[in-house]
Amino acid sequence: MLTLTAMVLGVMATLYGFAMSRLGHATATFVTTSDAVWAADVIEATVRDSYSCSIVSISGRSCLKCILPVTETDRDGDGFADRYNALGVTRRGWEKWGNTGKRIWFYQGSGAGAPSTAGTILFRAKRTDDATPTGSDIDNEFTYARDAKLRRPLISTFTASVNSSSRTVTFTISTSSLTRDERIHSAESTNNYYTHSETRTVAWRNGIK
């Protein structure tokens, strides 16, 4: 009887451990994908509406800079426009967007938000001119949830490149998560973390001012 009890307890404990381990793996897969896809959706929407995009090197780090059209509408009240209207059309009917709209930046930096300082935190910054953004230009809602807690803590790298001839931006967002804890892995053994890379190529507008 004691043996039987021990067997039952052992089997149940093993079953429990196995289930929790698989749940941890499933959760890690989900959160890494979720963080990367969410950030990619925001960047894709910005690039898609841009008048033009470029890569600006600041302190040796590449930052994605997007110039948005002049006439903008913020439909969801987050302080960032999500709909744009043309200023007019050319004599052939091509839409003209203007090149004096907001400058939206995406880059990684430290907690202060300046792109000149190295870090893994993904920031979105907004300026009305071409100057380098500072910590006061960042969109806190994009980066932080509350009390300086990162909204998407699993983003490890953000890289972008621009093809001016095809008017496209190719960017990659990499995330990783431990299976036992929702944070970026470091020096963990192979089976104890998940990584996800979200790569997209997005075209911007026709760039007629």
Binding site: M20, A26, A86, R91, E95, I208
Partner: protein
């Protein structure tokens, strides 16, 4: 008895804990899947509607339908219902398109303002050149950032130290400049715009046409048949003076502007069409000028309101042209003014 039951209790507790964890995870992942699907549907809807709208704009440009219109387009298996109206009262020559598409039981809506895909006319441009355009004379088109679009069928090479284009510069080839101040964009390798041809018979036999002689020193036009009076000169014509109301002068030959031209008032409008050349002995003129060759003296030509559209230019001085946007603003003016490409 108590020992027999303890294993079962432990097993039940474990099973309950595992089940609870699985249920929570299932709920989270199901919601996540639902969110991802919705995001996918939103993206699909947006691209489907954009594709439908692009098709609708293209068809409108071909004259497939008139405005306002309700049309359906199937894109990637999704049926997009569009309502298309003329938005020119807000932004000239644009369409307002509102579309809906149902995907998985949810209807998505998108509204866009898009430019009408136009067949461009030479009269939309301040300076229309139906050939390559190399010149060492200063070119100034438009004013205050508008009404100064320039087009050339061929390479544009502006060699003067000062050139200003208040609008777009279009070339079917390349654009090189010594100096250029431009408010709009430079377009290279654009599709060509056909230069309309004219048949003197269409003008000499038009209803209400008035035949004139070899010289015209100003004129007060009557309303005519279309609101613009048509004058027909069967041979070369000398031109100068003040022109009142709206009129079109067709010359079956060459035109020489011998002295300054002007409008009587802001509602006056003039078009000069020549089968041959137009020579500007005097630079200060008004009106749309259309012909085969354009010649200027060392003072060049200064069109304060109108346009220049020629197959070839032989310039000896600077060119300043401010486009009259009347035809651009209201395309129905084209046939009324007997403009090539609009009339007959």
């Amino acid at each position: 008895m108590k020992r027999r039951g303890s294993a079962m209790i432990f097993a039940i507790v474990m099973v309950v804990a595992i089940t609870a964890s699985i249920m929570v995870t299932l709920t989270v992942t199901t919601n996540a899947l639902r969110h991802v699907r919705r995001q996918e549907d939103i993206t699909r809807a947006r691209y489907a509607l954009e594709g439908a709208m692009v098709q609708a704009v293209a068809e409108h440009g071909k004259g497939t339908y008139s405005l306002p219109a309700n049309r359906n387009y199937v894109v990637n298996g999704f049926t997009n219902a569009l309502t298309i109206t003329d938005n020119s009262s807000s932004i000239m020559r644009t369409l307002s398109l509102t579309g809906t598409v149902p995907i998985r039981g949810t209807t998505y809506t998108e509204t866009r303002v898009m430019g009408q895909r136009l067949v461009a006319s030479p009269f939309y441009y301040a300076l229309f050149v139906n050939t390559a355009f190399p010149t060492s004379h200063a070119i100034t088109t438009g004013a205050s950032g508008a009404n100064g679009d320039l087009y050339a069928k061929g390479a544009v090479n502006l060699l003067a130290i000062t050139n200003t284009v208040n609008g777009e510069l279009e070339s079917t080839s390349t654009v090189t400049t010594e100096q250029l101040t431009i408010t709009g964009s430079v377009f290279e390798n654009t599709p060509s715009i056909p230069m309309p041809t004219v048949d003197p018979l269409n003008y000499s036999t038009a209803s209400g046409v008035t035949t004139i002689g070899t010289s015209l020193n100003g004129y007060t036009f009557t309303t005519g048949v279309t609101g613009t009076q048509l004058l027909y000169a069967p041979s070369d014509l000398s031109l100068r003076g003040t022109f009142r109301n709206k009129g079109t002068i067709f010359v079956n030959g060459n035109v020489t502007v011998t002295s300054a031209m002007s409008y009587f008032n802001t509602s006056s409008r003039l078009t000069v069409i020549a089968t041959g050349s137009i020579t500007f002995d005097s630079p200060n003129v008004v009106g749309y000028f259309f012909g085969n060759f354009c010649y200027t003296g060392t003072s060049g030509v200064n069109v304060s309101r109108g346009g220049l559209a020629f197959n070839n230019y032989f310039l000896s001085g600077p060119v300043t042209v401010i486009n009259d946007p009347a035809v651009w603003n209201d395309p129905s003016e084209g046939p009324k003014m007997y403009l090539p490409g609009f009339y007959p």
